[in-house]
Symmetry: none
Subunit: 207 residues, 4 copies
DNA sequence: TATGAATGAGCCTTCATTCAT
DNA sequence: GATGAATGAAGGCTCATTCAT
């Protein structure tokens, strides 16, 4: 092993603890909520000392924010790749939801994290006015919708309205699903909701 | 003044402080969030001593629950009266949304209270598994939907799905609206979303 | 016991804890120094709970300041009464020193408190620019000196200079005496220093 | 380059870091005070790693002590050379004060260091009973005084008393001067105080 | 009933010190 | 010798809850 390799290893190690802390934070915040989570809980879960957390993050708030960022950036990138592999708007929409259903089914605590911890306080938003991770999701959805409208695959619905409808519905379904201990089938309800969003709730007119 | 009258007055008085505390609690929880609200904040707002709160409520959690119950019962009753004054499903649906838009426009902190504080923690739900104030809203929505389906004014969509879609969308729109400092027009977006829910997002087929 | 008496008792009681905390603080700060003194040390010494300290004082710094104020105001008042009972400048000067010698001999920790804790940091002075308890002592000394000059009992020495000389000497003697565990006789050295200040250090010119 | 030279260079280098740390420590302790100074502050100022400090000093206390020693030894040696260049007691006394006025005017933080940090705690003196850097100053002053008395240039004042008077006055003047942001003229007040110490404060008897 | 002073458990954060490299 | 990432003990302060009046 030469010097260059060693340096790489060092760099890797440098980030190892940080990554461990982020992962522990996401899981613990999601499981117990921000306020009930002690820094020492996270430190223990990450197998580091309490003080180590403060080598990588300014304070508890900062850790929350950075955890969100990390989580959402990662997921959004994954999502974009998958979605952009699809051709039609319908396929993309389906993929958008499928991705989340899969993600949250596999790691329900992420659903809780995104659906609940995210919105703890206006104070939080006041403190970090530029911190709008949900906004990035919404923006992405809105791009997809606008494209679809251009393609003619979508009638001229209100972009903002549809994005709120889609995101809000998904968010609520997931919140219910995760706080109610997964008492209904996520895949099933997704299909049923997609059906409503596609065709509306009015009786389908015969022609 | 006879004994009966006196007793009534006493009872009224008895409830006066309780009511004041509940009202102060709702407003304060909504404004500052559950964790940042101190019992002494609520006591001051209600113009009672800290200790007095504990004459009417077991603890802070209990006060939160009772506040929700009070708030939601009141609002739900109001809502039911208005909704049941309408004949058609469409009118009822419209009324359902209009009522909330009006309510939250007038008292935005109630939106915050319902949208955010409501879902603070799994711990909370674990501790009070029977406490599901949202459930009552959802149940009511589902009743309306089922009726409408029977009337033939609604195609055979999934009741649970539609109720989640409607409630989740409303919830999210309100959260955004209240955390983003009312940056968009609530009435306007409501109409646009109702349009989507009615007719779906697909191009309307000519016939 | 009537209502008025009871109210007095309450008032007394109200201040009882505050007084106990101040006294405990002075003694503990003096014995251990500001930084080594824990709030819990003071609380224990005052026989109250830790939290009680914060009912009467904003924080540890505030407690230090208030303790000084209390201590110095009290002592300065006592001192003024005694000094003003004397007629001539010489008697007043003697009283000024005698008072301190007696005070510090009886309660050496007060000497430490005034001589050392008082000047912990420039930060402290920056934070509380108006907080100059020593200044009040100096001002008082300067008044005495100016009067004496007017009376003709004192030659036209520099007032500021003499006040610094007197205060600084006293301060240093006390510091040495208290940090060196009272290894010399305070009364004795006082007389010898007074002699120098009176007649100067040059050989007394015969005439 | 031979081995001896190399060894010298190494020794020099060895001491380079130690010297850098001492200098950084004196300046930083003086500027921020002992308790607010972090080891990492000193390390950064000395341009070494935190751990390096512990190669040369046992702990933070030890670093403080060694810094004092270094500072005081240096200054005392300088002072002695200058003082011993003077013939008469009066000239020596003047030099003693002039030296300090010059030193502290040029590097006010040294005044702070000596006047304040020096006396942080009884604990400190208890821990290091032999550590009396001021003592060396006092001893030197006392030697000067005793010599002067032998020479007949000084009446038979109490040596300890006069040394305390001189040192204490100087100490206090400097403390006031440095904590009050140099609000008065050091040179001017020095002359006025020297006048008092020489001739006393009583009206000069005519003859 | 009502009060509000008192309590004390609990937690975030700092920083002197260590030690593997 | 030199580094600096990691450690973990320690303490100021908050605030839900109690209880004597």
């Amino acid at each position: 092993m030469n010097a260059r390799f060693q340096s790489d290893k060092v760099k890797q190690k440098k980030h190892h603890k940080r990554t461990a802390i982020i992962e522990a934070a996401i899981e613990t915040f999601a499981k117990k909520g921000f306020h009930k989570t002690k820094i020492s809980d996270i430190a223990r879960a990450a197998d580091v000392a309490d003080g180590t957390v403060y080598l990588y993050f300014d304070n508890k708030d900062d850790l929350l924010i950075k955890s969100f960022d990390e989580l959402i950036s990662g997921k959004l990138n994954e999502l974009k790749k998958l979605v952009e592999g699809e051709e039609t708007f319908l396929a993309r929409l389906t993929m958008f939801f499928d991705y989340h259903v899969k993600l949250f089914t596999e790691k329900p605590y992420i659903a809780r994290f995104m659906a609940i911890e995210l919105r703890q306080s206006t104070e939080f938003y006041k403190k970090f006015p530029d911190y709008q991770p949900i906004k990035r999701y919404l923006n992405y959805l809105q791009e997809l919708i606008d494209e679809a409208k251009k393609e003619g695959n979508l009638r001229d619905v209100d972009t903002l309205g549809l994005s709120y409808l889609m995101f809000g519905t998904m968010d609520f379904v997931l919140t219910e699903w995760s706080t109610r201990e997964q008492s209904f089938d996520l895949l099933d309800i997704k299909d049923k909701i997609v059906d409503i969003v596609r065709y509306g709730m009015y009786p389908i007119r015969e022609h």
